[in-house]
Amino acid sequence: MAEYKPIRKVVSGNYAAAYAAKHARVDVVAAYPITPQTSIIEKIAEFIANGEVENLEYVAVESEHSAMAACIGASAAGARTFTATSAQGLALMHEMLHWASGARLPVVMVDVNRAMAPPWSVWDDQTDSLAQRDTGWMQFYAENNQEVYDGVLMAFKIAETVNLPAMIIESAFILSHTYDVVEMIPQELVDEFLPPRKPLYDLTDFEKPFSVGALGTPADYYEFRYKIQKAMEEAKKVIHEVGKEFGERFGRDYSQMIELYRTDDADFVFMGMGSLMGTVKQAVDVLREEGYKVGAAKVRWFRPFPKEELYELAKSVDGIAVLDRNYSFGQEGILFNEAKGSLYNTDAKPLIKNYIVGLGGRDFTVADVRKIAENMKAIIEKGELDVEVDWYHLKR
């Protein structure tokens, strides 16, 4: 094994995604540009134009629905397939997302988290990707540009092991258009980590013709749904193994589906996903100096949901402040809903409160985390919640 010497590049989150797709040696990219995803596709087009990639087929399509349809066809034929989208574009793909997971095709996609319109918005919000929760796609939320790059490479390996598609999710503009140092892996080491794909069934074997996605009667449909669930459970093990291997080879460990930051002796923790957890970690350092015993729990993988890891965390704390940059109307924040539901039948019963923050790109700062910490501390001392769901930024 060659020695690992990272190649440091200053790139945006979008370019990190494009470089990762290049290093993963994808065969087919089908995409339709949509702000703020556009520069991922532009960078890939640039790689092709400059002759930096071999045998990469870019399929220009007329909509996101077609983009995913093209990816499904390519993936069914055995190609390593990549695409990227955002918000309304992802919503337009929705129907096709079910086809990819139902046919067990390991397509990898980067979604740039962007608020759903109206009102028209191009800023950060997780509701677009979380609305795809039930499509059978794995979901990884990246905190920074490095995690976008690493996430794409790991996603291919995990997806191709369990035969499910995976979504790597980055924040609009906060990551997609902001430049940061990313440690990239030399091509030959990526090749060792990520060997060529071995498809489950080979559509190009003309001796054994078969069709994908044909009719499933009530006698058979149910079993195929169960198989997807089994694959999701298997994915938890594979995520752990691949994340550990990634850590051993490249020094960044992703074996835990929930990254814990200073939670060991914490009274309460902040839990959330994506780029806002960077702010939270910084705030935890500040709050610790001020005497708060707090920690951060960053949910990396939302699907499959890390129920067991959450339980282990919940046992050790008095409170969890769930920070949701998303909302399920008529109910509550989506991560909050999942977390609360996961703990219901367990003996871990911390006070768990939902803070709706940062919707549509609203700034979320260290000062905000401090205010939430003060509120959480008061709640824990009193032993009961004031409100269950707190629209934190609301102008009252």
Binding site: A103, R104, N163, Y201, K208, F210, V212, A214, D220, K227
Partner: protein, 105 residues
């Protein structure tokens, strides 16, 4: 029998998978058209008159199933295991060599 890539069997019926473990990983078609015959849907049956056939194979091109095949002698035959009796072949045949007749069952 290989449940994924079945072979056409005389009088075969649908394979019943009894346990979830018998199912393939992805819902690829289990070779069902090879074992599930779809020819029992029709009311009318195409009958080919070889004396009128000029071997243009337009019927073969137009058959949506495709149930028309080319026999060794060059004339066309109909695979009645799959023919649904739509009558497109009879409609398209330029020499009216194919007629649709009521099938006696």
């Amino acid at each position: 029998m290989n449940t994924l890539f079945g072979e056409k069997k005389e009088g075969a019926t649908k394979i019943v998978l009894k346990s979830v473990d018998e199912y393939p990983e992805a819902p690829v078609t289990l070779g069902t058209t090879l074992i599930n015959f779809t020819g029992d849907w029709r009311t009318f049956i195409p009958v080919v008159d070889d004396s009128k056939c000029v071997k243009c194979y337009i019927c073969w091109k137009f058959c949506p199933e495709p149930a028309i095949f080319i026999r060794e002698d060059g004339y066309v035959g109909v695979d009645y295991d799959y023919c649904k009796g739509c009558g497109i072949c009879a409609n398209e045949c330029p020499t009216k060599a194919i007629t649709m007749e009521k099938e006696e069952k």
